[in-house]
Amino acid sequence: MRRADKDDKPTVYQRVVLKNASPHHYMKIHLVLQDASTRLSAVELKQFIITGLKSLYGEVGAALNFDLLKYDEDTLTALLRVYSRGLVKLWSSLTLLGSYQNQACAFRVLQVSPFLLSLTGNSRDLQLD
């Protein structure tokens, strides 16, 4: 009976194309430190990125909203979310962050996408050995 009802209802086909409409961008980053035994907590990492934004873009840059979605203290790998408008600012300040507590460091940007979902299915992670 239910099926019959459904059949009577005209089925609709709707297609929408959204271009550059993603409100956020997502970044997968990895922090490389000179002394590999150094550990940062999630709060320290976020604070460190904020100091980078501040030194490059001043107080206005430091006020840029971004989220630390996920962080693995052992591998120093993190997922960030930022408003699409702030992506270039965040990315550039990550690139220019060169020292953490007087030791050399670098952020490796592993993947950037307007879809969080695509960060979970990167075929470059496929290991067959």
Binding site: K6, D7, T11, V12, Y13, Q14, R15, V16, V17, L18, K19, N20, A21, S22, P23, H24, H25, Y26, A42, V43, K46, N65, D67, L68, L69, K70, L79, R81, S84, R85, L87, V88, K89, Q111, V112, S113, P114, F115, L116, L117, S118, L119, T120, G121, N122, S123, R124, L126, L128
Partner: protein, 351 residues
């Protein structure tokens, strides 16, 4: 002044959303699934479920095996015996492995018999076969794409085009790469003559399942596409949505209005996955959804290979920052579905 404008820009991205029903004759799900040839990961979200139902489990476990050949000279793909046993009979799915489309030469052999080579400028000029500049390097022309139909008359063994490509690959450009290969419906038997000449290994797609409890879930029928995909990504990546808007680390929250699901099962499968297997899985999910149960939806996400030279329907694909080419199919028990197809900057519009 101009500088601040430029800083706000991000490269192009596209999200195509289809809302329709499987009962609608004009629905194109099958062709949309079939046209994405090189699938890396399929992940399924089953609400109110703690272990995969037997039928779904058996489909997931019966995904075709694929083969990895080490250091395959690409001219072997033109081998007469290989063409006759594999390419002319059924569909071959072949993709160079661990080559990056923004740096290396990449090769794909599509099920329709089309060979696509994405080469840097030096390799392209060395090979001496006609191609086109990549759509995505318009100013520098540093990358070229050659697309050849191996089933075409001129490409029959001994033909003119065939000999030109073969000598190019054998004597001028010695293109050798690790290669992933799969065949439908023949499987390994059709590929055996080629495999036996090289160092090869067989791989089963890797299956993972993970049970989640007390998960916030948005109202799926009305949720906007980007919020839905963000929520789904958070579930897939094990990111908590239980934040407050003022917390320091993250303000990610589940879109409102929301409900709480007591149990959710997340199953994922990785490897070189055939569209035929994905299609079979979708059919099985539709049967599963017909049973009366607590929650009446199910979502399936398929990620394409980021370094494949082609995405949907053999159209050129590049990576730029993420190389995303994936789709999410959200199915409901009344046979309606929401299909979201997403691509990044170096891609054309999905079908």
């Amino acid at each position: 002044m101009n500088m601040s404008v430029d800083l706000d820009q991000t490269p192009r991205s596209l999200l195509v959303c289809d809302w329709s029903s499987f009962l609608d004759d004009k629905n194109r799900v099958s062709s949309q699934v079939e046209q994405l040839h090189f699938n890396y990961k399929v992940s399924v979200l089953l609400p109110e479920c703690s272990s995969a139902p037997a039928h779904l489990d058996s489909v997931l476990n019966s995904f075709s095996s694929f083969y990895l050949i080490r250091n395959l000279p690409i001219h072997e793909l033109l081998d007469k015996q290989f063409l006759e046993t594999a390419v002319y009979q059924g569909s071959v799915y072949g993709l160079s492995y661990r080559t990056r489309i923004d740096e290396d030469n990449c090769v794909a052999l599509m099920p329709n018999g089309r060979l696509s080579l994405s080469l840097d400028k030096d390799s392209y000029q060395l090979l001496g076969v006609e191609g086109k500049p990549s759509r995505f390097s318009n100013r520098t022309n540093s990358r070229y794409v050659i697309s050849i139909d191996l089933t075409d008359n001129s490409m029959a063994p001994g033909g003119r085009g065939y000999l030109r490509l073969l000598t190019g690959l054998m004597s001028r450009l010695h293109l050798t790469t690790d290669f992933l290969l799969s065949h439908h419906p023949g499987g390994g038997a059709s590929l055996q003559p080629l495999l036996s000449r090289y160092d090869w290994s067989e791989h089963r797609p890797e299956l993972h399942s993970h049970a989640l409890t007390h998960l916030s879930c948005p109202e799926l029928q009305s949720c906007d596409p980007h919020s839905f995909l963000e929520w789904l990504g958070a579930v897939d990546a094990d990111i908590s949505c239980e934040n407050s808007s003022i917390s320091f680390l993250s303000s990610l929250v589940c879109p409102e209005p929301k409900t709480t699901l007591s149990r959710v099962l997340r199953v994922s499968i990785c490897g070189l996955l055939l569209p035929q297997d994905v299609h079979r899985l979708i059919q099985e999910i539709r049967c599963y959804l017909e049973q009366p149960q607590l929650e009446s939806w199910l979502s399936l996400t398929v990620h394409g290979f980021v370094d494949s030279p082609v995405s949907w329907g053999g159209r050129e694909h590049g990576v730029l920052r993420g190389g995303e080419n994936f789709y999410t199919l959200l199915m409901f028990h009344d046979h309606t579905y929401h299909l979201h197809l997403a691509t990044g900057a170096h891609d054309t519009c999905p079908p």
